[in-house]
Protein backbone atom coordinates (compact mmCIF):
# COMPACT_ATOMS: atom_id res chain seq x y z
CA UNK A 1 0.00 0.00 0.00
CA UNK A 2 1.50 3.36 -1.05
CA UNK A 3 1.86 5.99 1.63
CA UNK A 4 0.63 9.50 0.79
CA UNK A 5 3.69 11.35 2.13
CA UNK A 6 6.10 8.99 0.43
CA UNK A 7 4.30 9.23 -2.91
CA UNK A 8 3.82 13.00 -2.93
CA UNK A 9 7.40 13.68 -1.79
CA UNK A 10 8.73 11.51 -4.62
CA UNK A 11 6.43 12.97 -7.29
CA UNK A 12 6.59 16.61 -6.20
CA UNK A 13 9.19 17.71 -8.81
CA UNK A 14 7.11 16.19 -11.64
CA UNK A 15 3.86 17.74 -10.38
CA UNK A 16 5.60 21.08 -9.93
CA UNK A 17 6.93 20.94 -13.48
CA UNK A 18 3.42 20.30 -14.86
CA UNK A 19 2.09 23.25 -12.85
CA UNK A 20 4.96 25.47 -13.97
CA UNK A 21 4.35 24.64 -17.64
CA UNK A 22 0.68 25.49 -17.14
CA UNK A 23 1.15 28.69 -15.11
CA UNK A 24 4.41 30.00 -16.55
CA UNK A 25 5.22 31.41 -13.12
CA UNK A 26 6.87 29.41 -10.34
CA UNK A 27 5.04 31.07 -7.43
CA UNK A 28 1.63 30.44 -8.92
CA UNK A 29 2.76 26.94 -9.84
CA UNK A 30 3.66 26.29 -6.19
CA UNK A 31 0.26 27.59 -5.08
CA UNK A 32 -1.48 25.28 -7.56
CA UNK A 33 0.57 22.27 -6.42
CA UNK A 34 -0.10 23.07 -2.75
CA UNK A 35 -3.87 23.10 -3.35
CA UNK A 36 -3.65 20.03 -5.59
CA UNK A 37 -1.78 17.88 -3.07
CA UNK A 38 -4.24 18.95 -0.36
CA UNK A 39 -7.06 17.70 -2.59
CA UNK A 40 -5.08 14.56 -3.25
CA UNK A 41 -4.84 14.01 0.52
CA UNK A 42 -8.61 14.32 0.99
CA UNK A 43 -9.27 11.82 -1.81
CA UNK A 44 -6.23 9.64 -1.18
CA UNK A 45 -8.21 6.39 -0.75
CA UNK A 46 -9.78 6.82 -4.21
CA UNK A 47 -6.49 8.00 -5.73
CA UNK A 48 -4.58 5.00 -4.34
CA UNK A 49 -7.09 2.62 -5.90
CA UNK A 50 -6.93 4.34 -9.30
CA UNK A 51 -5.52 2.39 -12.25
CA UNK A 52 -2.80 4.97 -12.81
CA UNK A 53 -1.95 7.03 -9.74
CA UNK A 54 0.42 9.33 -11.65
CA UNK A 55 -2.31 10.18 -14.18
CA UNK A 56 -4.75 10.78 -11.31
CA UNK A 57 -2.35 13.16 -9.54
CA UNK A 58 -1.58 14.97 -12.79
CA UNK A 59 -5.31 15.37 -13.48
CA UNK A 60 -5.78 16.89 -10.01
CA UNK A 61 -3.04 19.45 -10.77
CA UNK A 62 -4.54 20.34 -14.17
CA UNK A 63 -8.07 20.72 -12.77
CA UNK A 64 -6.79 22.76 -9.85
CA UNK A 65 -5.00 25.05 -12.31
CA UNK A 66 -8.19 25.51 -14.36
CA UNK A 67 -10.30 26.12 -11.23
CA UNK A 68 -7.83 28.65 -9.88
CA UNK A 69 -7.85 30.42 -13.25
CA UNK A 70 -11.61 30.72 -13.06
CA UNK A 71 -11.57 32.06 -9.52
CA UNK A 72 -8.50 34.24 -9.23
CA UNK A 73 -9.18 37.05 -11.68
CA UNK A 74 -8.60 39.63 -8.91
CA UNK A 75 -5.20 38.24 -8.07
CA UNK A 76 -4.21 38.23 -11.74
CA UNK A 77 -5.13 41.90 -12.04
CA UNK A 78 -3.09 42.74 -8.95
CA UNK A 79 -0.03 40.86 -10.12
CA UNK A 80 -0.28 41.93 -13.76
CA UNK A 81 0.35 40.08 -16.97
CA UNK A 82 3.09 37.51 -17.06
CA UNK A 83 5.17 39.66 -19.39
CA UNK A 84 4.95 42.61 -16.95
CA UNK A 85 6.73 40.57 -14.33
CA UNK A 86 10.45 41.10 -13.82
CA UNK A 87 12.30 39.26 -16.56
CA UNK A 88 13.77 35.87 -15.89
CA UNK A 89 17.55 35.61 -15.51
CA UNK A 90 19.21 36.86 -18.70
CA UNK A 91 18.83 34.43 -21.53
CA UNK A 92 22.30 33.33 -22.53
CA UNK A 93 22.04 32.53 -26.21
CA UNK A 94 19.44 32.45 -28.97
CA UNK A 95 17.97 29.11 -27.85
CA UNK A 96 17.16 30.39 -24.38
CA UNK A 97 15.83 33.62 -25.84
CA UNK A 98 13.49 31.67 -28.12
CA UNK A 99 12.42 29.55 -25.18
CA UNK A 100 11.66 32.63 -23.09
CA UNK A 101 9.61 34.18 -25.91
CA UNK A 102 7.75 30.92 -26.32
CA UNK A 103 7.10 30.64 -22.56
CA UNK A 104 5.64 34.17 -22.51
CA UNK A 105 3.59 33.46 -25.65
CA UNK A 106 2.18 30.35 -23.99
CA UNK A 107 1.15 32.27 -20.86
CA UNK A 108 -0.99 34.55 -23.06
CA UNK A 109 -2.96 31.65 -24.52
CA UNK A 110 -6.36 31.04 -22.81
CA UNK A 111 -5.95 28.57 -19.90
CA UNK A 112 -7.88 25.64 -21.34
CA UNK A 113 -6.07 25.83 -24.68
CA UNK A 114 -2.76 26.16 -22.82
CA UNK A 115 -3.59 23.06 -20.77
CA UNK A 116 -4.31 21.09 -23.94
CA UNK A 117 -1.03 22.22 -25.57
CA UNK A 118 1.03 21.37 -22.48
CA UNK A 119 -0.58 17.96 -22.02
CA UNK A 120 -0.35 16.98 -25.68
CA UNK A 121 2.97 18.43 -26.82
CA UNK A 122 5.06 18.76 -23.68
CA UNK A 123 3.85 15.75 -21.68
CA UNK A 124 3.12 13.66 -24.80
CA UNK A 125 -0.29 12.48 -23.66
CA UNK A 126 -2.68 11.02 -26.24
CA UNK A 127 -5.84 12.93 -27.20
CA UNK A 128 -8.07 10.40 -25.43
CA UNK A 129 -6.26 10.83 -22.12
CA UNK A 130 -6.30 14.63 -22.39
CA UNK A 131 -10.04 14.48 -23.07
CA UNK A 132 -10.57 12.27 -20.02
CA UNK A 133 -8.44 14.58 -17.89
CA UNK A 134 -10.29 17.73 -18.97
CA UNK A 135 -13.68 15.96 -18.98
CA UNK A 136 -14.49 16.87 -22.55
CA UNK A 137 -14.74 15.14 -25.93
CA UNK A 138 -11.77 14.24 -28.12
CA UNK A 139 -13.14 16.62 -30.76
CA UNK A 140 -13.00 19.46 -28.25
CA UNK A 141 -9.38 18.62 -27.43
CA UNK A 142 -8.49 18.74 -31.13
CA UNK A 143 -10.25 22.05 -31.71
CA UNK A 144 -8.68 23.56 -28.57
CA UNK A 145 -5.28 22.35 -29.79
CA UNK A 146 -5.75 24.04 -33.13
CA UNK A 147 -6.94 27.30 -31.53
CA UNK A 148 -4.12 27.20 -28.99
CA UNK A 149 -1.41 26.66 -31.61
CA UNK A 150 -2.83 29.50 -33.70
CA UNK A 151 -2.77 31.75 -30.62
CA UNK A 152 0.88 30.85 -29.86
CA UNK A 153 1.89 31.56 -33.48
CA UNK A 154 0.01 34.85 -33.37
CA UNK A 155 1.76 35.85 -30.13
CA UNK A 156 5.16 34.89 -31.51
CA UNK A 157 4.44 36.83 -34.70
CA UNK A 158 3.45 39.89 -32.68
CA UNK A 159 6.59 39.61 -30.55
CA UNK A 160 8.91 39.54 -33.57
Amino acid sequence: MIDYTEYVSARLPALRRVAYLLCGDEHRADDVVQVAITRLYTSWRRARDADDLDAYARAVVVRTFLNEQRRSWARIRLVGRADDLPPAPAAAGPDLETREQLRIALTRVPPRQRAVLVLRFLLDLPVAEVARMLRCSEGTVKSQTSLGLAAVRRQLGAAQ
Partner: protein, 88 residues
Protein backbone atom coordinates in the same frame (compact mmCIF):
# COMPACT_ATOMS: atom_id res chain seq x y z
CA UNK B 1 0.76 22.41 -40.53
CA UNK B 2 1.54 18.82 -39.60
CA UNK B 3 1.56 17.31 -36.15
CA UNK B 4 5.37 17.29 -36.24
CA UNK B 5 5.44 21.03 -36.99
CA UNK B 6 3.15 21.62 -34.04
CA UNK B 7 5.35 19.50 -31.80
CA UNK B 8 8.42 21.31 -33.12
CA UNK B 9 6.90 24.69 -32.30
CA UNK B 10 6.73 23.91 -28.58
CA UNK B 11 9.86 21.73 -28.46
CA UNK B 12 12.07 24.41 -26.78
CA UNK B 13 9.80 24.18 -23.71
CA UNK B 14 10.18 20.44 -23.30
CA UNK B 15 13.09 20.70 -20.87
CA UNK B 16 11.76 23.73 -19.03
CA UNK B 17 12.00 23.36 -15.23
CA UNK B 18 10.82 25.71 -12.46
CA UNK B 19 13.79 27.99 -11.74
CA UNK B 20 13.63 28.35 -7.94
CA UNK B 21 13.36 26.01 -5.00
CA UNK B 22 9.96 24.60 -4.14
CA UNK B 23 7.87 26.26 -1.43
CA UNK B 24 5.34 23.42 -1.44
CA UNK B 25 4.89 21.72 1.94
CA UNK B 26 3.54 18.19 2.20
CA UNK B 27 3.04 18.61 5.98
CA UNK B 28 0.91 21.72 5.33
CA UNK B 29 -1.13 19.80 2.76
CA UNK B 30 -1.79 17.04 5.31
CA UNK B 31 -2.84 19.60 7.97
CA UNK B 32 -5.15 21.42 5.53
CA UNK B 33 -6.51 18.13 4.24
CA UNK B 34 -7.35 16.93 7.77
CA UNK B 35 -9.04 20.25 8.54
CA UNK B 36 -11.04 20.03 5.32
CA UNK B 37 -12.10 16.44 6.07
CA UNK B 38 -13.18 17.43 9.60
CA UNK B 39 -15.14 20.42 8.25
CA UNK B 40 -16.82 18.19 5.68
CA UNK B 41 -17.75 15.62 8.35
CA UNK B 42 -19.15 18.37 10.60
CA UNK B 43 -21.17 19.84 7.72
CA UNK B 44 -22.53 16.37 6.90
CA UNK B 45 -23.50 15.80 10.55
CA UNK B 46 -25.31 19.16 10.70
CA UNK B 47 -27.11 18.32 7.47
CA UNK B 48 -28.22 14.90 8.80
CA UNK B 49 -29.42 16.53 12.05
CA UNK B 50 -31.39 19.17 10.13
CA UNK B 51 -33.02 16.53 7.92
CA UNK B 52 -33.91 14.44 11.01
CA UNK B 53 -35.47 17.44 12.78
CA UNK B 54 -37.34 18.41 9.60
CA UNK B 55 -38.71 14.90 9.16
CA UNK B 56 -39.72 14.76 12.83
CA UNK B 57 -41.62 18.03 12.58
CA UNK B 58 -43.42 17.00 9.40
CA UNK B 59 -44.42 13.65 11.00
CA UNK B 60 -45.82 15.48 14.02
CA UNK B 61 -47.92 17.74 11.79
CA UNK B 62 -49.34 14.74 9.95
CA UNK B 63 -50.82 13.02 13.10
CA UNK B 64 -54.50 12.02 12.47
CA UNK B 65 -57.10 14.31 13.97
CA UNK B 66 -60.81 13.75 14.62
CA UNK B 67 -63.08 14.98 11.84
CA UNK B 68 -65.69 16.56 14.18
CA UNK B 69 -66.29 17.29 17.82
CA UNK B 70 -66.25 14.44 20.28
CA UNK B 71 -69.81 13.69 21.29
CA UNK B 72 -70.51 11.70 24.49
CA UNK B 73 -73.89 10.42 23.23
CA UNK B 74 -72.57 8.96 20.00
CA UNK B 75 -69.45 7.77 21.74
CA UNK B 76 -71.71 5.53 23.88
CA UNK B 77 -72.93 3.75 20.72
CA UNK B 78 -69.44 2.83 19.81
CA UNK B 79 -69.02 1.19 23.19
CA UNK B 80 -72.37 -0.72 23.18
CA UNK B 81 -72.19 -4.54 23.26
CA UNK B 82 -73.91 -4.74 19.79
CA UNK B 83 -71.31 -2.61 18.18
CA UNK B 84 -68.69 -4.85 19.79
CA UNK B 85 -70.37 -8.02 18.42
CA UNK B 86 -71.58 -9.22 21.84
CA UNK B 87 -75.11 -10.31 22.90
CA UNK B 88 -77.65 -7.62 23.70
Amino acid sequence: MSMDDDRELLAPLRDLEPPGASTVSVAQAIRDGRRRKAAFAAAAAVMVALVAVGLGLSQRQQLPTAAGRFDVATAGLLCSPRSQGGRS
